[in-house]
């Protein structure tokens, strides 16, 4: 259990500013996900926290103690790499034993901890195997067992699920969260997949171009995005953003409805949408269109249930309504949230 704090952390590679003065504090035992497009600096942030890189400026603190000058091995941080980085010439048992041996844990205690961690991950039957003979999911479990066996004060995950195929990934994601809830170790989880970030995290930190754009609960990011970037990054599909008289009007595809399908008594804004195409997703439909009138034919996307899609006529201009409480406004120049304007 520990609190991680990052103070004014910056990292420059030559002229390239990979990280621009990041401030971030976790809560004790929190599962914090860091999400952003590739190249946003999230992996650099991880490596700075782990001590694999030296920051250009700023500090990393664990429980209010500055650990910036400490080498990785003195930080008691466990990191799980995307590739899992299992030691190829060691058996699963030796892999898990490695951090214990390096810390001089005696043999009996070592054996007890190996058994404990193998049991937590359900890999008792794999202990004698070599990593080359494990599946992707099994490799992840071994990497996790090796990470928890030494009771670290902080877990760092660097896209641990991205090398798994889609079906295994959903299971592995659930197991990861379960493991966290069971051990209660503060966890920082890096991913480029916003679905994963929103689904796993107690809080989500959104990064872009070396800076934090917003930190908050998944609901907070979804309903109250602080800026255009977060609005366009979180959500599947992301928020519709329509330029309009110096502001950007945003609403989520799932909040739009054809007028005929909308509840009568709601305070709604109306958009004249020409639907060009629909797409069947199984549980719902996507309707692609352009907004006429003051919106300069901006592209718009609506996510509609079966009963709503039946009211949509492809190729025609029709009224699409969005509850005013679901509409967000952003400044056109800064991209930041602004007050509502009449539309």
């Amino acid at each position: 259990m520990a609190v991680l704090e990052v103070r004014g952390l910056a990292k420059h590679f030559g002229d390239f500013k990979a990280l621009k003065r990041i401030d971030l504090t976790t809560q004790d035992g929190e599962f914090l996900t860091i999400v952003g497009p590739s190249g946003c600096g999230k992996t650099t942030l991880m490596r700075l926290i782990a001590g694999l890189e030296t920051p250009t400026a700023g500090d990393v603190l664990i429980d209010d103690k500055v650990i910036t000058p400490l080498p990785p091995r003195a930080r008691n941080i466990a990191m799980v790499f995307q590739s899992y980085a299992l030691y190829p010439h060691m058996s699963v048992r030796e892999n898990i034993a490695f951090p214990l041996k390096a810390r001089g844990v005696d043999k009996a205690e070592r054996e007890r901890l190996i058994q404990w961690s193998a049991k937590v991950l359900g890999i008792e039957s794999l202990l004698h195997r070599r990593p080359a003979r494990l599946s992707g999911g099994e490799k992840q479990k071994v990497a996790l067992a090796r990470a928890i066996v030494r009771k670290p004060s902080l877990f760092i995950f660097d896209e641990p699920l991205s090398s798994l195929d889609a079906q295994v990934r959903a299971v592995a994601r659930a197991e990861l969260r379960q493991l966290h809830d069971r051990t209660g170790v503060t966890t920082v989880y890096v991913t480029h997949d916003q679905v994963e970030a929103v689904g796993l995290g107690d809080r989500v930190a959104v990064m872009q171009a070396g800076a934090l754009r917003q930190v908050g609960s998944p609901q907070n990011l979804y309903y109250e995005p602080a800026n255009v970037f977060v609005a366009s990054f979180i959500g599947t599909p992301p928020m519709n953003l329509l330029p309009h008289n110096g502001v950007i009007v945003g609403f989520r595809p799932e909040h739009a409805l054809p007028r005929a399908a909308a509840p009568k008594l709601q305070d709604v804004a109306t958009f004249q949408v020409c639907v060009t195409r629909t797409e069947f997703l199984g549980s719902e439909w996507l309707a692609y269109g352009t907004v006429n009138g003051e919106f300069n034919n901006a592209k718009v996307l609506c996510k509609l249930q079966q009963d709503a899609i039946s009211k949509v006529k492809v190729g025609e201009v029709q009224d699409i309504v969005v509850s005013r409480s679901q509409i967000r406004f952003f400044d056109k120049d800064t991209g930041l949230r602004t007050e509502a304007v009449p539309i």
Binding site: L52, R73, F81, A85, H89, F98, A102
Partner: protein, 321 residues
């Protein structure tokens, strides 16, 4: 060809299509492709080898090289009885073993050094590879000067720091006479052998070292491993096979090589720094006793064969991983 076949009768069609040119036959092509390799192995490996065995069992000399008269194991018995034989066998084994040990250690050191980034790395790489690119004759001139009985710069430095000369640790003489003393001579040969073999083994092993993903080292660091734990538990196990192959191939070269001894100690003083291949050359070619030279050279064979088999096995194991 297609145009022409259109005009032919249907029966002729088939013949045209199914005719197989000589160069289309797998067997013919295969044999043609293999021929150079087979001819090479037979003419330059198998024939000389069996010729050597035949020579060693005969009484052929340089003046009368015909293999007419077989004398059984007489040549082997007579060379074993010579005083030089025990020296040559001992020195061959000692020089090879010492070279192997030093080479292993230095290869690992060089590879660890070159796997890192530091200013001037390019120049260091060139310097470390240089012995390989240097002609043997040129290298010999350099080493002979370094080890010269009177003008050795090593001696000069030792004298300058007060380790050599009358009343010092290394004795009253003003020179160490590297090539004129049994163990200094053997040591000098080992040093030169290592110097010559190091670039090749370094390049082979460095290729394996750079193939180890950096994440493994970072993971080990996070797991609490220090430098030596990383070296012995991550780097060396990953390099084990390549290192063994590199070292075994070097042993093959060193054990059968005579140039270094021929250019430095020439086996002296007496036979104290003699080695098997050089002695075989001296006796068989220079001394004219072709059959005895062949017999001496054949003493190398069991060791070379064993090492070759081992090297090939390791190479194939490496492939399987």
């Amino acid at each position: 060809m297609l145009e022409r076949s259109k005009d032919l009768a249907p029966g002729a069609y088939k013949r045209e299509d199914t005719r197989i040119e000589l160069v289309d036959r797998d067997g013919v092509v295969g044999a043609a492709m293999l021929a150079p390799a087979v001819i090479y192995v037979v003419a330059l490996v198998a024939v000389p080898f069996f010729l050597a065995i035949a020579l060693s069992l005969s009484d052929a000399t340089v003046g009368n090289p015909g293999i007419h008269h077989f004398v059984g194991l007489a040549n082997f018995i007579s060379v074993i009885r010579e005083a030089a034989f025990m020296f040559a066998l001992r020195n061959s084994l000692i020089i090879t073993a010492a070279t192997l040990v030093l080479l292993t250690i230095l290869t690992i050191l060089q590879v660890e050094l070159l796997a890192r980034n530091f200013p001037g790395k390019r120049i260091a790489e060139i310097l470390l590879i240089l012995p390989w690119a240097m002609p043997v004759a040129l290298a010999a001139v350099g080493w002979l000067w370094l080890l010269d009985s009177e003008f050795s710069p090593i001696d000069w430095i030792l004298r300058a720091v007060g380790l050599l000369g009358p009343g010092t640790v290394l004795g009253p003489a003003n020179n160490l006479y590297y090539l004129g003393r049994e163990w200094l001579g053997i040591g000098a040969v080992v040093v030169i052998d290592v110097w010559r073999a190091l670039p090749l083994s370094t390049i082979i092993v460095l290729a394996g070292r750079t193939a180890i993903p950096n994440e493994l080292f970072e993971q080990a660091e996070l797991d609490g491993a220090g430098y030596f734990r990383k070296l012995f538990r991550i780097t060396l196990p990953a390099l084990a096979i390549l290192l063994t192959v590199a070292i075994l191939f070097t042993v093959l070269i060193i054990f059968g090589d005579l140039t270094v001894v021929a250019l430095t100690t020439r086996g002296g003083p007496g036979y104290t720094t003699e080695i098997l291949p050089y002695w075989a050359y001296l006796k068989g070619i220079q001394g004219g006793a072709l059959s005895q030279g062949a017999a001496i050279a054949l003493f190398l064979f069991p060791v070379l064969l064993a090492v070759s088999i081992l090297a090939l096995r390791m190479a194939y194991r490496g492939e399987g991983l």
